[in-house]
């Protein structure tokens, strides 16, 4: 008998779970939910969403195939494996907003077929390149007359509140979502909202009233609350009203990271930029990356170069959420196979949730076969004090081959970083950098960028 390897995060819904078998992705469906799933399947709404690229595809295994894996299962679905799993605390404002809108649109469209959605969690949405895609097929169930929106509070906490935090308080939501496991409680957000925002009727209704009712009812729980029903027309209006609001929210940023607009600061001459692109192009042509990680991707200019030179998929990371929003627009504009994510490499996403296994750390999700670390390591060394050898080892642990840019202390950018502090970075020197690389990797090629003292190093680890 085959022991099914259940995904550690797939335990919330007793109706079924996701498991992996020989690098393939399956979904186990319990007997108790078989009829309901068949109704949803026959409604045609799942197929419609798949055609519109809004839902991950699925195939129902034949009885013999199913019985080989698990005779107890009512049904087993197979899904295509996604290139990368990302979480809401790694998304930019526009990414979370488009995920929220997708969720509401799917719910509204399924209600037309008398199907509803039983939850609202950001973990049910993944980004394929720059497009959000829903991944949980068991969220769809036949609509029961006058049923409420079960995921209403969850939607507010996982989608609406982070968006409002950024829009109304000018606070980046990513660290809050990371600390609160992709959730910002209603009471927390309502407490810190600027007073004048509380006069907004939508804020009053969805946050204020819900928070107050929650407080009151928690003191005196009435069984009648379990019996409350909501007419379908009211449910549709609630979803539509939420959609209109979410769509209208615009981000506000308190600070602009120093390097956010570095491409506009003319740190590089046109010639240096073309030299850099040529180097990246040559590297990609030679290595044919299947998944390249662009660490410190900025808007994604060099990710685009990589994709134009045989790279199949690029995941870009940048510390600044506003920059990742720009990168998302850039990815959409050029229709790139490029997924930009918010990430601070001095504090990458940890493992979170139940038993620290529910959501994987960044290292556990590493699928890169090559990397770009352009204008990154001086931030880690000089701003975060990470020893140079540690930085190199970390980069080698991500990918066995890649291009690293070395920015020397004489560079105006590093001079700016050192302006108000003592230079304690004795190891930060080009010769030492090369020596440390050569302990574990071969240097395939190096180049100096014109009019700067910056250098590019193409490495390949020995093992």
């Amino acid at each position: 008998m085959i022991i099914l390897k259940r995904d550690p995060s797939s335990f919330h819904d007793p109706a079924g779970y996701v498991f992996f078998q020989e690098n393939r992705v399956f979904r186990y469906i319990n007997q108790s939910i078989k009829d309901e799933f068949n109704t949803v399947d026959q409604s045609g709404c799942l197929q419609k969403f798949i055609t519109e690229h809004k839902l991950v595809d699925y195939t129902i295994l034949s009885d013999s195939q199913k019985n080989q894996l698990s005779p107890e299962a009512a049904l087993i679905l197979e899904h295509p494996k996604l290139p990368f799993i990302s979480y809401a605390y790694e998304w930019s404002f526009n990414m979370l907003q488009s995920a929220a809108l997708l969720h509401l649109e799917l719910h509204l469209a399924s209600l037309e077929q008398n199907i509803t959605m039983i939850d609202s969690t950001s973990f049910n949405i993944q980004f394929l390149g720059n497009q959000p895609c829903f991944i949980d097929h068991l969220s769809f169930r036949p609509y029961i007359e006058n049923d409420i929106w079960w995921g209403y509070q969850s939607f507010c906490q996982q989608f609406l509140n982070p968006l409002l935090l950024q829009a109304y308080c000018k606070v980046d939501f990513q660290p809050w979502l990371k600390g609160g496991f992709a959730t910002i409680p209603l009471t927390d957000l309502y407490e810190i909202l600027p007073w004048h925002k509380k006069f907004n009727w939508r804020v009053f209704f969805h946050l204020g009233l819900q928070t107050k009712l929650q407080h009151k009812s928690s003191k005196k729980q009435s069984p009648a609350t379990k019996k409350i029903r909501l007419p379908k027309s009211a449910l549709i209006n609630l979803l539509k009203s939420m959609h209109t609001w979410v769509k209208s929210i615009t981000p506000h940023y308190q600070h602009i990271y120093e390097w956010q607009d570095y491409e506009n600061l003319h740190l590089y001459s046109e010639l240096a930029i073309s030299e850099k692109k040529a180097f990246v192009a040559e590297f990609c042509q030679a290595t044919n990356p299947i998944c390249l990680w662009d660490l410190g991707c900025n808007q994604g200019e060099f990710s685009k170069t990589a994709l134009e030179n045989t790279a199949k998929y690029v995941i870009g990371f940048d510390i600044d959420p506003a920059t990742i929003d720009k990168a998302l627009l850039f990815s959409k504009k050029y229709q790139l196979n490029f997924l930009p994510l918010v990430m601070n490499f001095a504090n990458p996403s940890p493992a979170l949730g139940w038993n620290n296994k529910e959501r994987k750390s960044l290292s556990e999700r590493n699928n890169a076969d090559s990397l770009l670390a352009l204008a990154l390591i001086h931030h880690l060394r000089i701003q975060n004090n990470v020893p140079l050898s540690e930085i190199i080892n970390y980069l080698f642990s991500i990918a066995s081959t890649g291009v690293i840019e070395f920015v020397p202390k004489t560079d105006p950018k590093v001079q700016l970083m050192l302006k108000f502090r003592q230079d304690i970075f004795m190891d930060y020197d080009y010769n030492n950098f090369i020596k440390l690389i050569q302990e574990k990797a071969a240097i395939i090629k190096t180049t100096s960028l014109t009019n700067t003292e910056r250098k590019l190093i193409w490495y390949k680890t020995y093992d």
């Binding site: 039983i118 007359e145 049923d147 409420i148 079960w150 509070q153 819900q210 929650q214």
Partner: protein, 81 residues
């Protein structure tokens, strides 16, 4: 009077014979009560819609304006042969 009875009976039925749901997550009591309020608002609006013409005519009568006539039923338009 008949309408009041109908609304009360419908509400009682809706609250008493709640069908089981599939949802596995706790929706939060605040969210449920808020949706209950929405349901009540929807009910009130439906009732207002039902009595809208009567209300309008009542106001018109108070203001001394001519009242609108009730639309004739289709059956009246097409009398039985």
């Amino acid at each position: 009077m008949k309408h009041y009875r109908l609304i009360i009976i419908t509400t009682v039925i809706a609250l008493t014979f709640a069908v089981p749901a599939y949802a596995y997550l706790d929706p939060g009591s605040g969210s449920i009560i808020l949706q209950g309020i929405l349901a009540a608002i929807a009910g009130i609006l439906a009732t207002i819609k039902l009595y809208w013409r009567k209300l309008k005519n009542f106001c018109r009568r108070c203001l001394g304006k001519p009242v609108e006539e009730e639309p004739k039923k289709k059956d009246d338009d097409n009398p039985k042969a």
